[in-house]
């Protein structure tokens, strides 16, 4: 197991409220696999990634509990300089907005060599050579000319390739990609995701793909976990999740999404209501107000995530009834 997250709890304190952004999240990432974390806004998927990378700013956010075990050590308990040795080198991250994630006043060369020199203790000249190699790997043509340029001279797709190059440059064991293609056109998205998958397979790098796009998950992920209101509510292989979902929220999400191959006159089945206010959560299941299967016992306590079929976990007390006629 490459990475083990155990009972992670990250909260934000703002305007007198306590927001339980990530509330008891546990999962593993195996070497070389592609794990998708899927959810809508406020689900806690991005905060989970930022927590693993130690990028939660205080104020207003704080990791209040849990463990992130990498190579036998809990990253959350390491001193800052030890964390820095891991972050960027062994665990890398690609952020959502390529327009704003690159430093606008540094050349591409500087952005790539900075990480290389810091983590690998090599000279500037060696780092520059490595930078050119990794730019080739991510399909940036004419890299020598591109090295001298600034981010604003690149398109969104190119900037994202630079971000991926930066993430790959120190040969990490795992890359966390937070909505890496949401801001990009769909044909560029296809190029970038195919590139990431290809690199993952060839170099054995695990990919944690954070997204709200159920199509992307279906095309690229080995395993999926669905998050809602700060918690994981379902975990399975991609095939099992789509073929036989075991949580009403997952069913609701799948029913809400238009499909390119749908028959004519299909009506979408939206989930009623809205996601809950994370500062005002009740004791029970957080999906209860919107759930067609809700009953009194759902409101007593948050249902635990349990294995309801081999390799398939669900946090629903009625998981065995999900997907039957009428749901």
């Amino acid at each position: 197991m490459l990475l083990q997250v155990k009972n992670l709890q990250t909260q934000f304190f703002t305007q007198g409220k306590r927001i339980r952004a990530v509330d008891g999240v546990s999962f593993d990432v195996a070497e070389g696999e592609t794990l998708a974390i899927v959810g809508e806004s406020g689900s806690g998927k991005s905060v989970t990634a930022l927590s693993i990378m130690g990028l939660i700013p205080w104020p207003p956010g704080r990791i209040l509990g849990g463990e992130v075990i990498y190579q036998g050590r809990d990253l959350l308990k390491l001193a800052p300089d030890e964390v820095r040795r891991v972050r960027g080198k062994e665990l890398a991250m690609v952020f959502q907005e390529p327009m704003t994630s690159l430093n606008p006043v540094l050349t591409i060369e500087r952005q790539l060599t900075e990480g290389l020199q810091t983590h690998l203790s090599i000279s500037r000249a060696e780092a520059r050579e490595r930078a050119v190699e990794v730019m080739h790997e991510v399909g940036i043509s004419d890299p020598l000319r591109r090295l001298e340029q600034y981010p604003h001279m690149f398109s969104g797709g190119m900037r994202q390739r630079v971000m991926i190059a930066m993430a790959l440059s120190c040969r990490p064991r795992m890359i966390l990609a937070d909505e890496p293609t949401t801001a990009l056109d769909v044909t560029i998205q296809a190029q970038i995701l195919a590139l990431m998958r290809d690199l993952s397979r060839r170099l054995g790098v695990a990919l944690v793909l954070i997204t709200h796009n159920l199509g992307v998950v279906a095309r690229y992920a080995d395993r999926v976990q669905v998050m809602y209101a700060g918690q994981i509510i379902e975990k399975a292989t991609a095939q099992k999740l789509y073929a036989a979902p075991k949580h009403p929220y997952t069913v609701g999400l799948l029913g809400s999404v238009p499909r390119l191959d749908e028959g004519e006159r299909r009506r979408l089945q939206p989930i009623v209501g809205q996601p809950p206010d994370l500062g005002e959560l009740g004791p029970g299941c957080r999906f209860m107000p919107r759930c067609p299967l809700a009953e009194a016992r759902c409101g007593v306590a948050v249902p635990p995530l349990v294995e309801v079929a081999p390799g398939h976990g669900s946090a629903c007390l009625k998981a065995d009834q999900v997907g039957n006629a009428g749901n």
Partner: protein
């Protein structure tokens, strides 16, 4: 190119003919010169029949939003004609334009910036009817506002709230109520659901479909999400670098696309089903979209097209009806 792109012979509600929107690019500080032109919309023709939904889809820079803005007369088009209910919009005087605008409304993308933050929901929705004299101020306007809010799925009790107190989905419903307030016949939906979460998006899509059935509305649905466009539209036009590449009924566009760009676009859209995805062929396009300041010669798609030949580099393909109701601009279709 004055033939209608519709199968029937009924007069279209909207008739766009050879539309051009070219923006000059200036340089110089003291003395401005025209350094080039951005051909945002370059010879686009289509019609929309009463009661139908025409989808306008394409990636960034294709000109779909600018086309919508020209139809709403928010941009003065630089060439071609836009006829709404048979009238050329460019020839209308101020009074005529005001009258046309009552029937031609818009729902914008961003539920956060398209509502005035200093007005209550009641004021936002009631402003149009009250200013245009459709309702008398006071009770009549309040009743109309309540009716419109209910139509959009909002509780009328929210009329005294301000936009910042609502969620994105609720704000978008306010935008819909506002668009409906003038009793329009035609609504331009410019990325109307793109900023919403998936589950809320589905609610709003269903609402738009229901309102269309109830009120006999006609939509121009502009979006980049092909799955959403295919779902809601009767016919779809695919745009690239200011031109329409293909226009067809939505099921047919998916089943049997004629244009190589459409095929690449469809192939790039992942379907939420791993079993289906495993069997699909993926056509990957190389390179990036060229700049509209310097579009390629001939067919604007030729540098990235797997089927490009000599004629594609030299001649702009005509937008022609290749099969009944199925139009494409391609030398090889």
């Amino acid at each position: 190119m004055t033939q209608s792109t519709l199968p029937s012979a009924a007069p279209p509600l909207l008739d766009v003919r050879r539309l051009k929107m070219h923006f000059p690019v200036h340089t110089g500080v003291l003395i401005q010169r025209v350094a080039g032109t951005v051909k945002a919309v370059d010879d686009v023709s289509f019609t929309v029949a009463q009661g139908e939904t025409l989808g306008l889809v394409g990636e960034s820079g294709c000109g779909k939003t600018t086309t919508g803005r020209c139809i709403l007369h928010l941009n003065r088009h630089t060439g071609g004609e836009i006829r709404f209910e048979g009238q050329d919009l460019a020839r209308l005087d101020a009074a005529g334009l005001r009258a046309a605008r009552r029937k031609l409304q818009v729902i914008f993308q961003d539920p956060y910036s398209s509502l005035n933050p200093r007005m209550t929901l009641g004021q936002i929705v009631g402003e149009g009817p009250s200013v245009h004299g459709l309702t008398r101020p006071g009770k009549e306007t309040r009743e109309r506002v309540a009716e419109l809010m209910s139509l959009a799925g909002l509780s009328p009790n929210l009329a005294s709230r301000y936009p910042h107190e609502l969620s994105g989905g609720q704000r978008q419903r306010v935008g819909i109520a506002r668009a409906l307030s003038m009793n329009p016949s035609f609504i331009v939906c410019d990325e109307a659901v793109s900023a919403l979460d998936v589950s809320i998006q589905a609610q709003i899509i269903n609402l738009l479909e229901d309102l269309q059935d109830r009120l006999g509305l006609t939509y121009l649905f502009i979006a980049h999400d092909l799955s959403v466009v295919r779902h809601i539209s009767d016919r779809v036009a695919v745009m690239y670098l200011g031109k329409i590449m293909e226009l067809a009924p939505s099921a047919l566009l998916y089943r049997a696309p004629l244009h190589p760009y459409t095929r690449a676009l469809l192939s790039a859209v992942p379907i939420p089903d791993p079993a289906v995805e495993a069997t699909r062929e993926h056509v990957l396009l190389h390179g990036e979209v060229p700049s509209p300041l310097n579009p390629p010669s001939g067919c604007v798609f030729h540098p990235r097209c797997p089927m490009a030949s000599e004629v594609c580099r030299e001649q702009i393909p005509e937008f022609q009806e290749k099969a009944p109701g199925h139009w494409a601009a391609c030398h090889h279709a």
